[in-house]
């Protein structure tokens, strides 16, 4: 088996006595598409916080391409090729769509490069290609703050693609999207897998089924089970903690 691109071993996160993650181990192969589900508060977002350097785990190891990334800053981990979309579409509201994308796409991220270097036409073309692909091209000069919720989600995902990371982490990419937008997002994500390693965190079961990827179920900070959607759905423990309560949402 090749080295996993991303690996977590026995990771625990202790928020003042409350364990948001407990002894979580998980590994991802290059190009893999993985879905992660779990009820609210299961620790899914915390899991991404640990990978991206926002939260330092109390215990355990996190490695990227076989090398530990524990204790690295968020920006270092990002530059090593880990990109993240937040649970809410965090885009820069006071910048135009194209400037949001150019900011994410910048190959050199130092102040001096931003001051004195103009973006190469290949980067600019790539930005336009992405905007075309997700249908944001007509809004290129529009301030991101005035986009609709769905457009912001797509802009946030587009910024990730522009950033060109090897590992793409998506926290609830279809929250608040219409059915049609959700289906198109599923297509987009499937097209990203292969070239990128993609982790998708979602509540929406329909969407997870559309992705057709292996599913990892988290519950109370622990790994409950893994498998294909059909197997996972049939697991009585999953029904109890997750599917059983989906009616009350």
């Amino acid at each position: 088996m090749p080295t996993p691109i991303l690996e977590l071993q026995d990771v625990s996160v202790d928020f003042d006595g409350f364990f948001a993650l407990t002894d979580l181990s998980l590994s991802l192969q290059p190009g893999e598409l993985r879905s992660i589900i779990g009820p609210n508060g299961a620790g899914k977002t915390t899991f991404l916080d640990v990978i991206t350097g926002k939260v330092k785990p109390t215990k355990g190891a996190v490695s990227l391409r076989g090398e530990s990334i524990l204790g690295l800053s968020e920006q270092k981990i990002s530059r090593l090729g880990v990109g993240r979309k937040f649970q809410t579409p965090r885009v820069f509201n006071n910048l135009s769509v194209v400037r949001n994308l150019e900011f994410a796409a910048a190959p050199n991220k130092t102040p001096f490069h931003l001051m004195f270097e103009t973006l190469t036409s290949s980067v600019k073309d790539e930005v336009y290609r992405i905007m075309d692909y997700v249908g944001l091209a007509p809004y290129a000069k529009v301030e991101a703050g005035s986009l609709s919720h769905g457009q912001k989600q797509w802009l946030a995902i587009s910024m990730l693609v522009a950033q060109a990371p090897d590992v793409i982490l998506l926290d609830e990419p279809v929250a608040g999207l219409t059915d049609d937008e959700t289906a198109r997002t599923a297509e987009l994500i499937k097209s990203l897998a292969g070239d990128h390693t993609v982790v998708v965190i979602e509540h929406d079961m329909e969407f997870i089924r559309d992705l057709g990827a292996p599913v990892t179920v988290l519950h109370q900070g622990q790994l409950l089970t893994q498998g294909m959607m059909e197997e996972v759905k049939a697991d009585p423990r999953v029904i109890e903690v997750y599917l059983g309560q989906s009616d009350d949402h």
Binding site: P39, N40, G41, T45, T52, K54, S73, E74, Q75, S78, R79, G83, R84, F86, Q87, T88, P89, R90, F92, N93, N94, L95, R99, E102, F103, A104, A106, K109, T110, P111, L114, M115, L119, G145, S146, K152, M159, Q163, H249
Partner: protein
Amino acid sequence: MKLFRKLVPWILLAFAFFVLPEILSQFRLNLFGRYFSLAIVALGIDLIWGYTGLLSLGQGIFFALGGYAIAMHLLLVTKNDFTTGANGLPKFFENYGVDNLPFFWEPFWSFPVTLIAIWIIPAVVAGLVGYLIFRNRIKGVYFSIITQASLMVFYHFFNGQQKLVNGTNGLKTSTTELFGMIVGSDDAQLLLYRVTLIILPFAYLLCKFLTSGRFGDALIGIRDDEARVRFTGFNPVPFKVIVFLVAGGLAGISGALYTVQSGIVSPQYMAISMSIEMVIWVAVGGRGTLIGPIIGAVLVNYLRSLVSEALPEAWLFVQGGLFIFVVVLMPDGIYGWLTKGGAASMLSAFGIAKRAKTYPSLDLDEQVNLEPKTITPK
């Protein structure tokens, strides 16, 4: 129309440069010279606060450092009865029985060194203070408190050092000589007025350069969502250090020009109220616009002169009222109000017209407010 709007500031500048000296009395012209020098420190505040979200309440430190630098030079090189004591040193040293020039005065014999020191000393101090603050991820209110605390440290230090910098009395420049002219003379003051008007547009263009390109996008990104900037692979620390350093340098230049036009530099320039007033000028003029802070600095200080001449005690009340008026009714300041919405945005404050979307941003942003709610169990 667009071209016209671009030209207006330059027309006003030419007007101030050529016409105002002809129509204003020397007294009034000198006051305007001071206002224009204050506009330079305001530009720096807009860079760090309006664009980058760093509300510094300590710009007086850098302002005063620039003022002291030029004053020390002028006191050293001037040899006349008003300025020089019996031992050949600046006169105030006599009062404290100081016969040897303190070592840190030495570099200020040189005019070129002084011209560089005026901005480089404040810039380096700002860069160091900024680096320590930003590296430790101190943000928001805590940043403001630390800058204000640093201001108090500097204030008390300069106040207490009679033997080094004449303590609370400060350094008087009006009787010193520059290019063979007494600095307080009409000719010298006219020259300094024009020098100020030449430097102001350069300060503006520097800030414009820093805020309009991709570097400016990064500043706005840091202001609106710093964590997001980090996750995009940028380290915000050097960006913040650079703008804080530039703002410090601009404050130093501003302080030097202000000092030679008001005739004195003293620790009062590092009083808490002065640094807060600088922020008020920016808020009143319109932050994040660069033009706004210039308007704010000139207008508020002009108003202050007018009110103080008529009713000396009333100014603080007027200033407070003005600030509240602007914060409530013109959140984008005078310039923002002129360029977008205008009267409509004022009506909206009374609930008469529709409320427009306002920046800033994070605590008003519904998405950011949503995030903590959605991560807690339903």
